[in-house]
């Protein structure tokens, strides 16, 4: 049997039981790799459960800098008997199955093409510790210590991390280091260390940070000047408001009075949460809410009001697998259509698609400027994968001379100079009108905000031509918006090609990795990452320049492709779909395979979408 050989390029997956403290030990491993100067991409694959069900933690290590899911597992560290049958099957041939052999492995599970290595984790813990909770917690730390020996890790990096992690709780440092040593010692005494896969110090991390997208969004809201947060708890968006609150408590307390320069209201439901945001924004504060698919559905009525009445509104949608409750702890990009056209009637909503924590921070702060400048809802579309996993990201930066763009808001002095204020009067020809904040002027500027039709002076009307004129202006505003939203990022091919890939958000890393694979196989691809809806003109030009464009996305119905077809009036032939919707982040191998299957000459029988989807499931 061949054992996999690799230095600094592999996938390791940890199989644990939910609620046993494995997350912090696994995180310790990932962060240690990161501190060894290696790009790392950890992903939590967790159940909708607090305690007892299987949970996984997959870490991609790639000195070449590939940060998406590759597909396949090289090392499986399994301490959960519940999931062992599945875990061992997932291994690549020649991979390593490291498990707790306190109880012997079921003989039926044994695969002859993988390396099976047992460490009696439970027995070691039972011998070392009396307290049941300690036995459970240190079991995880012990296997990290063993990995240090097996993978030839820098042990000092691990001990340094433990010291950082328990700063202020110093008496926890030594027991954790001892647990690491126990594992290290067992591995060196019982195995030929290191194994075929190993880690070597590198310098490929630069000034990058490891951060989850939701924390970055919370920080973006702090820096963007949000003062009102209204929300209803829902996975996977809860940690956005948690992060906002954590940093607000540190950074938003008035030094003179000790009072808070922010208000967080936990609403009774998502309808109320978005209503509060609309009310606060109408009244001149920067406000936001964070939610996920089910919440977005509930919010759509208010999104229609905010679109029609032109009230700045910021909404962060951390997408998860739908429809309905779906798989609430698994990732998808499947709210695109329901967000883009949220609400009854003719509506179009502005969407932003960040791909990294840095973009979560940047777009998060930008959302407030755009909402006020454009006087419409801004829906930032992130997902569970980006939101809840640590992602390697460029550091966060804020230009200290940056001013908030409050858009077209009239002051009392400006109102004094006006003949007559018209809330929905297009004065500047860009279809964005001037607004007033309640309480500004004793005699001028007051108007009735409403979801019913009205004329340019905000007076109720049921005249069809007035209504139509206003709806046409909103379409003209849509054209203006294209100039304000983030432009797409194009990566041309270094060889001439008529084929391209187009994607958004968290599909980026895997898509770009698949592109490298395909280039090596003689299929060069141009690439574009879309960052906003409305689509900028560059997107239309890019599609027009290519014979066929693969639209890569993480949902069943090819929602971005549908949106592109609808907005550009494209026929169905030009855009091909590459899809993944099993709840796991899309992998590079999966993308490569789906593209190959659809390339002319690579496949004789025409493919129906069902076949492609089946391929996705096989290799996700």
């Amino acid at each position: 049997m061949q054992a996999l050989q690799a230095v600094n390029e592999f996938v390791i997956k940890f199989a644990n039981v939910n609620g046993t403290g494995s997350a912090s030990a696994n995180n310790l491993f990932a962060k240690a790799v990161f501190r060894m100067g290696l790009p790392v991409c950890p992903k939590n694959i967790f159940p909708s459960n607090i305690q007892g069900l299987p949970t996984w933690y997959e870490v991609r290590v790639s000195e070449r800098g590939y940060l998406g899911r590759r597909g396949g597992v090289d090392i499986m560290l399994s301490v959960n008997p519940q999931s062992m049958p599945q875990d061992i099957q997932e291994l690549e041939p020649g991979g390593y199955f490291i498990y707790d052999n306190t109880k012997p492995l079921d003989l039926r599970l044994i695969r002859s093409d993988v390396n099976i290595m047992g460490i009696p984790l439970t027995r070691i813990c039972n011998e070392q510790y009396q307290d049941p909770r300690q036995r459970q917690l240190f079991r995880n730390v012990i296997y990290v210590g063993a990995l240090a020996a097996l993978l030839d890790m820098d042990f000092a990096v691990l001990t340094g991390l433990v010291e950082d992690q328990f700063k202020g709780k110093d008496k926890l440092i030594l027991p954790n280091i001892q647990a690491l040593e126990l594992g290290y010692q067992y591995a060196t005494e019982n195995f030929d260390c290191p194994i075929g896969i190993r880690l070597r110090k590198s310098d490929r991390v630069g000034d990058n940070i490891l951060l989850d997208g939701n924390t970055a969004l919370g920080l973006g809201a702090i820096y963007g000047g949000a003062t009102v947060a209204a929300w209803y708890p829902i996975t996977p968006s809860t940690s956005v408001v948690d992060a906002f609150e954590k940093y607000a408590k540190r950074l938003r307390i008035d030094p003179g009075t000790g009072r808070r320069n922010y208000a967080i209201v936990q609403a009774e439901d998502e309808l109320a949460a978005i209503g509060m945001v609309v009310g606060a924004s109408w009244n001149g504060a920067r406000a936001f809410t964070a939610t996920s698919g089910p919440g977005l559905s509930l919010m759509s009525e208010f999104l229609g009001l905010a679109y029609f009445a032109e009230i700045p509104t910021v909404l962060f949608d951390v997408q998860r697998a739908g429809p309905s409750t779906g798989m609430p702890t698994r990732t998808q990009q499947s709210d695109i259509l329901s967000a883009a056209y949220a609400s009854h009637g003719d509506t179009k909503q502005v969407l932003l698609f960040p791909a990294t924590p840095k973009e979560c921070f940047d777009f998060g702060a930008l959302s407030f400027d755009l909402a006020e400048r454009l006087q419409t809802p801004i829906i930032l579309m992130t997902d569970l994968d980006l939101g809840m996993n640590d992602n390697m990201s460029p550091p966060l930066v804020w230009e200290d001379d940056r001013r908030y763009d409050r858009g077209k808001v009239l002051t009392a002095a400006q109102l004094d100079e006006m003949e007559r204020f018209g809330r929905y009067l297009d004065v500047d020809g860009d279809a964005i009108c001037y607004r007033t904040i309640p309480g500004t002027h004793p005699e001028k500027g007051a108007f009735f905000t409403r979801g019913t039709s009205r004329d340019e002076y905000a007076v109720y009307t049921e005249k069809g031509e007035e209504y139509e004129k206003n709806m046409h202006r909103l379409m003209a505003k849509w054209e203006t918006i294209k100039q304000w939203v983030p432009a797409p990022i194009e990566t041309p091919s270094d060889r001439e090609t008529d084929t391209a890939i187009l994607f958004f958000g968290t599909s980026e890393e895997s898509a770009m990795e698949a592109r490298d694979y395909l280039a090596e196989e003689g299929i060069p691809l141009a690439a574009m990452r879309v960052r906003a809806f409305p689509f900028n003109d560059e997107v239309e030009e890019f599609i027009a320049r290519h014979e066929r464009v693969f639209v890569i996305e993480q949902n069943r119905d090819a929602q971005l492709r549908t949106l592109l077809m609808a907005e550009f009036e494209l026929g169905p032939d030009k855009l091909k779909s590459v899809l993944c919707f099993d709840g796991n982040p899309i992998s590079a191998r999966n993308i490569r395979k789906q593209i190959l299957l659809q390339m002319p000459g690579y496949n004789v029988t025409p493919l129906r979408r069902e076949r492609v989807v089946a391929g996705a499931e096989m290799n996700s």
Partner: protein, 350 residues
Amino acid sequence: MSYQLPKFRHPDLPVNTLGYTKADYEGAISTLCAGCGHDSISGAIVRACHELALEPHRIAKLSGIGCSSKAPTYFLGKSHGFNSVHGRMPSVVTGANMANRELLYLGVSGDGDTASIGMGQFTHAVRRNLNMVYIVMNNGCYGLTKGQDSATADEGSASKKGDPNPFSAIDLPGLALQLGATFVARSFSGDKGQLVPLIKAAIAHRGFALIDVVSPCVTFNNNAGSTKSYDFVREHSEATGTVDFVPMRDEITASYAAGHTQEVTLHDGSVLHLEKLAEDLDPFDRVSAMIALEQSRVAGQILTGLIYIDKDSRDLHDVLETSRRPLNSLTEEDLCPGNKVLVNINASLR
């Protein structure tokens, strides 16, 4: 369409301390049915705001959807208004109030808007003790959709269509008391003498102030057999006592008869004088208020007047310890921590 009132007024109309006449607090001409109770309530709001000399532009009037929610167009034309989504006015006010604590928030709703589609938001605004006046124009029916029974229609009450309502009624003051409301009153659109001082007291109260105003629907629910008709309410209303509101700057000049009277000083220094109080009601005691309300209901009466007030009310800003400066007035200097802080945060993430 909204039609504006003609601008000319009698030259001797009385002005308040701001120099405004009552006309400065009026709105567009009502498009509600002639005789609608809601128009009387609008009139009471105009009078209360004029007499209190409130600056119209420092008032925000918000509503949901329905006949009641159209009403804000017909008063306070110089105030900002927001006719929002059906049943969702409380959340919009919550956000608005968080953004600017200095305005007066006047929410107007109906029985459908509050007790059915908006029940969730209403109850939670009460729980949070949001600083606002919440007026329910309660006619027991859905006017705009032609007279269906609403959730506040009494069991057995029949609207114009003639079928008695088979379901038990939701009593909003009773519900609000149970939820911890800090100001609960009920009145009748036909009794301005009672309604105007109650509105003034509700404005002065810091926290959530509910006034449930029975307001007959002349078109669909003013017939014999209805418990929300003018005649029925006049015959069956039973006042808790009379309420006299004395603003902070005025001296108390009225002489009050001896007997069961109470005086409350509100947080802004104004005084509420409660006279001829029912013997068995202590309006500062929640349990007493609940009992009085229930006894009156069982007796087939409609208890009106001030039912309960919490003198030590703490509103949502007190609970959240928000800045005394309105949040919407804070700037980059107050809100943005700057890049130096970010550099430290980055360092902690490596």
